[in-house]
Subunit: 186 residues, 2 copies
DNA sequence: TGGTAAGGCTAATATATTTAGCCTTCACGG
DNA sequence: CCGTGAAGGCTAAATATATTAGCCTTACCA
């Protein structure tokens, strides 16, 4: 009955991403994805090599979107303001995509996707360099990213259980770290 | 033929942990675990409720060990030295158990295991309080843990690809953050 | 108008987890 | 002694999944 396309790789990836985010990693079965795009499971193999390949494509999609979000966040030219905005955008993205964000940053996931979102953000490194000086730009950038990623991961994991104000902890950490990273004398 | 025990829950968990760490998450099958402890797969259900229950038990085991390691690391009484030692011990543990460490900290994993390792470390919070003052102890502790966890995760994920000295970035981050967290006036 | 390739489909294969139900051994009370 | 019951194995079977094989239809194009 079917002639040419009834779906597309992009639709398959989008369905997989939605499924992953809304119903978790175990719900990403070929059967569910196929249902979502309106074909039978074996037909998906005309679009993706395998389930793990679909996984990879979904996470790359997420990484690409994160990169865009970050690149669009630095606007003012003031390094402290811009880094704050990028960190906030980063956190907002993770909150909007908790499952896929976490998976994207996990080791087994994609060799490359983690680095991808960061590496491609030359904007970020430049902004850090303006704050920390070129000598310390790389370790300073690593400090900020590590903190932000760690904070968000723990937050999403529900690891902050001792009460207190999590927003306050975010602001505290961001302010202290940016201050600590500023180059001593200029 | 068999009468009483041929294995034990502890042995099953230990085998699962070894398998997970050495061969990755896909290798943790009931069949492999059963082979490792010398029984057939269905017999494992006399020990654990399900595969995901075994998963949970393995990660709890890892979390408990991490807690012990951290509690043992603070020795000198000087908060900066002690926090540095705890951070180093934390990182060393993660390097020795990369797969299970990462899984333990992942959201879907165990509601509780993430918090567990941190919450049970009252030692850590006390040490931070001595450095940051009681007002800021909680956000300061969250800043340190977030940074350390984020750094280690990215490091294990191979996210630090822009060259540079990763050891140097660790020392840089630790020193700057500890300095930034110290209470302004005392 | 007929060949061809894209893109569906069903059927079959292989591997997982998990449940059902059986069988043997041991400890222990009569 | 012996018989009984529970612990803890086992095999067989049910269910779910990814994946492969091979077929069939449609649209395009020479």
């Amino acid at each position: 009955m079917p002639a040419h396309p009834q779906t597309s790789t992009a639709a398959v990836v989008a369905a997989g991403r939605r499924l992953l985010e809304e119903r978790g990693v175990d719900a990403l079965t070929m059967r569910e994805v196929a249902d979502a795009v309106g074909v039978r499971a074996p037909s998906l193999y005309k679009r993706v090599r395998s389930r793990s390949d679909l996984f990879r494509l979904v996470l790359e999609d997420v990484a690409d979107e994160l990169t865009s979000v970050l690149d669009a966040a630095a606007m003012t030219g003031d390094p402290v303001a811009d880094l704050g905005a990028m960190a906030a955008a980063y956190r907002r993205f993770a909150h909007a995509n908790p499952v896929t964000y976490t998976l994207m940053m996990a080791p087994q996931a994609i060799p490359g996707a983690t680095a991808r979102s960061v590496r491609s953000s030359a904007t970020f490194l430049n902004t850090v360099a303006r704050l920390a000086g070129p000598m310390h730009a790389l370790p300073a950038a690593r400090t900020i990213v590590a903190w932000a990623h760690g904070f968000i991961t723990m937050e999403l994991a529900g690891a902050f259980r001792l009460g207190g104000d999590v927003e306050n902890a975010w602001d505290f950490g961001l302010n202290r770290i940016l201050a600590a990273i500023r180059r001593p004398a200029d």
